[in-house]
């Protein structure tokens, strides 16, 4: 039960860090992401003049702000060796609850507050089963992916609710400082806080340690369940916030809001060099991969490719982002083995 995500049978795990320092591998990974980003920028600029303007890049973020926000907490969870598949359903549920309450005459501020606490409760519920009881996070969050989505449908059935107050709709669009709207500022602020917590604080180190080995962490006195519980609460809250921002951007809420977003969110995290087996990866890499995915999607839209086609491409990217490092590892191990054999062979030749 310990390593939840190492479910494929051939996982001896972590051997790559023995052969090459982790930071070196990550550095090369992030270097590759930068090159990829540069290529995409070039292609897109050729497709559409004026593509690289600040306005367009800001716009890209605004149009996917909800996915990008959840990617932050998902990074924490995956580094910690867990996953939260239910995040898009929490987004939908929170938005539906707020819309339902608003349509039934609740004060809108109160409705938003209640929606946020729904996110909190969902996160606590996930965290309870995973951190306290010790169930597999994949199964629990998969079950809750179905359940929260179902609850969202219970609230709105097949209706669509809109006509939110004006200030709410303006939340995402109105520019606050220069060309930067509030939603983007919120993301940048949260990202900086997340970097400080994950990369420069003691808590962040425990997240990595748990991801590397739950048992080692426990024997070193890390309170593993508490860390995991906190992360799931953070994930629930962030998802609820993202769901509300999405509702503000769309101007109306339906039961299938944010359906299927887990694909993009998990791809953003894994393409950023975070290991699906936990314990490695940084938020810097995730930031680069967020830029890549937003720009790829935009580029495909410029080339008139349909949304479904884009989803397929993201699916391929997701698989490649795990398959690529695996293959590189295999090649490296094979090379090392050959070198080892070669050196042994030459030694043998000397001794005779």
């Amino acid at each position: 039960m310990s390593a939840n995500l190492t479910s494929s049978p051939k996982q001896s795990g972590g051997d790559h860090s023995l052969f090459s320092p982790v930071w070196q591998r990550l550095k090369s990974w992030e270097g590759m992401l930068l090159v990829l980003l540069f290529v995409i920028f070039t292609i897109n600029s050729l497709l559409a003049p004026g593509y690289l303007g600040i306005g367009n890049q800001v716009n890209l973020f605004i149009l996917s702000i909800e996915k990008v926000l959840v990617a932050i907490t998902m990074t924490f969870l995956i580094i910690n060796g867990e996953i939260d598949l239910s995040a898009p359903s929490i987004m939908g549920l929170a938005a539906c609850v707020s819309a339902y309450l608003f349509a039934n005459g609740t004060n809108f501020g109160a409705a938003l507050l209640i929606a946020m606490s729904v996110g909190l409760v969902c996160g606590m519920w996930n965290g309870f089963w995973i951190a306290r009881v010790g169930l597999n996070s994949l199964v629990v969050t998969l079950a809750m992916l179905i359940c929260y989505r179902g609850l969202a449908r219970v609230f709105l059935e097949d209706k669509s609710i809109g006509k939110f107050p004006e200030w709410f709709a303006a939340l995402g669009q109105k520019n606050l400082i220069g060309p930067i709207p509030l939603a983007l500022l919120l993301f940048l602020g949260l990202w900086v806080v997340a970097v400080i917590i994950l990369q420069y604080s003691g808590f962040g180190r425990t997240v990595y340690v748990i991801g590397n080995s739950k048992d080692v962490a426990r024997y070193s006195g890390v309170r593993v369940p508490r860390v995991k519980f906190l992360l799931y609460i953070a994930s629930g809250l962030m998802s609820a916030l993202a769901g509300l921002l999405l509702a503000a951007r769309l101007g109306s809420v339906r039961g299938d809001l944010a359906l299927g977003y887990e694909l993009d969110i998990i791809t953003m995290v894994l393409l950023g060099g975070v290991s699906i087996f936990g314990g490695s990866g940084t938020l810097y890499g995730v930031f680069l991969s967020i830029m890549i995915i937003l720009n790829i999607r935009n580029g495909m839209s410029l080339a008139n490719l349909s949304g479904h086609f884009q989803t397929g491409v993201i699916g391929i990217l997701l698989i490649l982002s795990v398959l690529g490092p695996n293959l590189v590892n295999d090649a490296r191990t094979a090379l090392n083995r050959r070198r080892f054999r070669h050196s042994q062979g030459s030694q043998g030749a000397q001794s005779t």
């Binding site: 039960m1 995500l5 190492t6 479910s7 494929s8 049978p9 051939k10 996982q11 996953i83 089963w129 009881v133 010790g134 169930l135 597999n136 994949l138 199964v139 629990v140 998969l142 079950a143 809750m144 992916l145 179905i146 359940c147 929260y148 989505r149 179902g150 609850l151 449908r153 219970v154 059935e157 299927g260 887990e262 694909l263 998990i266 894994l270 699906i276 087996f277 349909s306 479904h308 086609f309 884009q310 989803t311 397929g312 491409v313 993201i314 699916g315 391929i316 997701l318 698989i319 795990v322 398959l323 695996n326 293959l327």
Partner: protein, 353 residues
């Protein structure tokens, strides 16, 4: 206690529990809904369970090796469309060829999953979330959003959902149900008696031990995904036969229903335990619940998914907490029995020492 241990396995008690729960549910709804339980209801449930049950059989094979297959809904949708289109353009394709075509297309898609998981070491959840999206977009691109309707299909496909092999009173055994039943029986026999089936359990219970024991672990995992794909293809054919109208959204969400069926049926993702019969009963349970909720006026049918998700969580939690203890109890009592046996026969003891 000792006779109990000799007679039953914990897994059997689990299945018994599920059957009792199902009977209680039927009893409850019979009181709540007038005219609830009759031949028509049985016929409806037996046809609608076929698709999910076939998917659940494939999901069981994959689950036993500690993996997931989230792409089955997309595979079923794609094959349903693909086979439907072939039948539309070539009306003279015989039924057997259509079924084989469906299974073949499904196996091709399943083999991609299998290669990535077994040989590429990409965790199954990542692989199949990816292929779920890829196969779905393949369907959209391939179909150009032109739906297949019952008017386009040969009549035998449209009629297949109402066709029955034989009837007991008013209860009909429909063709779709019979196909599903055959699949369940064949795969249950395979899991129980063929070496391949036993190896699936071995890999699920302890991957390292299985590998050290010399099992071709990669190949077995690959084959599990291949079969799951093939069964998803067959389910796609059943889907085509049952609904006749295939859009680009065909089969979306079936992956969750199949996982729900498998988990409720007692197949454990911690690996190495569960049966195909259990998965079938799980599918039947969920289908009964859905069909009953649909007719129950007390709550809206929109509760369906919420209840589905909760049931999955409940089943997993129960398995972990209650049946985990039960298994320990069994193991301990069996150990006791063995030591008592060996005391009865002193020659065994000398042999050991």
């Amino acid at each position: 206690m000792k006779t109990l241990v000799r007679r039953f396995r914990p897994e059997q008690i689990r299945v018994l529990f599920l059957i009792i729960l199902m009977l209680l549910m039927i009893g409850f709804f019979s009181i709540e809904i007038p005219g609830y339980f009759n031949a028509r209801f049985i016929n409806r449930v037996s046809t609608s369970v076929a698709v999910v049950a076939v998917l659940a059989v494939g999901q069981t094979l994959v689950f036993l090796t500690r993996n997931f297959d989230l792409s089955v809904g997309s595979i079923a949708g794609f094959t349903a469309y693909f086979v439907g289109q072939q039948l539309w353009f070539h009306k003279d394709i015989p039924p057997v060829a259509a079924v084989l075509l469906a299974i073949g297309v499904g196996m091709a898609m399943g083999s991609v999953n299998g290669v990535l998981v077994a040989y590429g070491r990409v965790p199954s959840i990542i692989t199949t979330i990816g292929t779920l999206a890829i196969y779905r977009s393949l369907l959209v691109e391939y179909s150009h959003a032109v739906p297949i309707t019952t008017n386009n299909l040969p009549t035998w496909v449209v009629d297949i959902s109402a066709q029955s092999l034989f009837a007991i009173g008013k209860v009909e055994i429909r063709v779709l149900f019979a196909i599903m039943l055959a699949v369940v029986i064949i795969f249950q026999l395979m899991l129980s008696f063929l070496p391949f089936g036993r190896r699936l359990y071995a890999i699920g219970s302890n991957p390292d031990a299985a590998r050290i024991a010399g099992f071709p672990a990669k190949r077995i995992v690959f084959l599990a995904f291949l079969m799951s794909g093939g069964l998803a293809g067959l389910a796609g054919f059943l889907f085509l036969g049952r609904y006749g109208n295939i859009t680009v959204l065909a089969g979306a969400g079936l992956e969750f229903e199949s996982i729900a069926a498998v988990v409720v049926g007692g197949v454990s993702n911690a690996g190495g335990s569960g049966t195909v019969i259990g998965a079938f009963l799980g599918a039947l349970f969920l289908d009964l619940l859905q069909n009953s909720l649909f007719r129950w006026a007390a709550i809206s049918e929109f509760w369906r998914d919420a209840i589905l998700g909760m049931l999955v969580l409940l089943a997993v939690a129960l398995d972990y907490v209650v049946f985990g203890r039960l298994k320990n109890l069994w193991a301990r009592t069996e150990l006791q029995l063995e030591t008592e046996d060996s005391i009865d026969k002193p020659e065994v003891v000398t042999h050991v020492s």
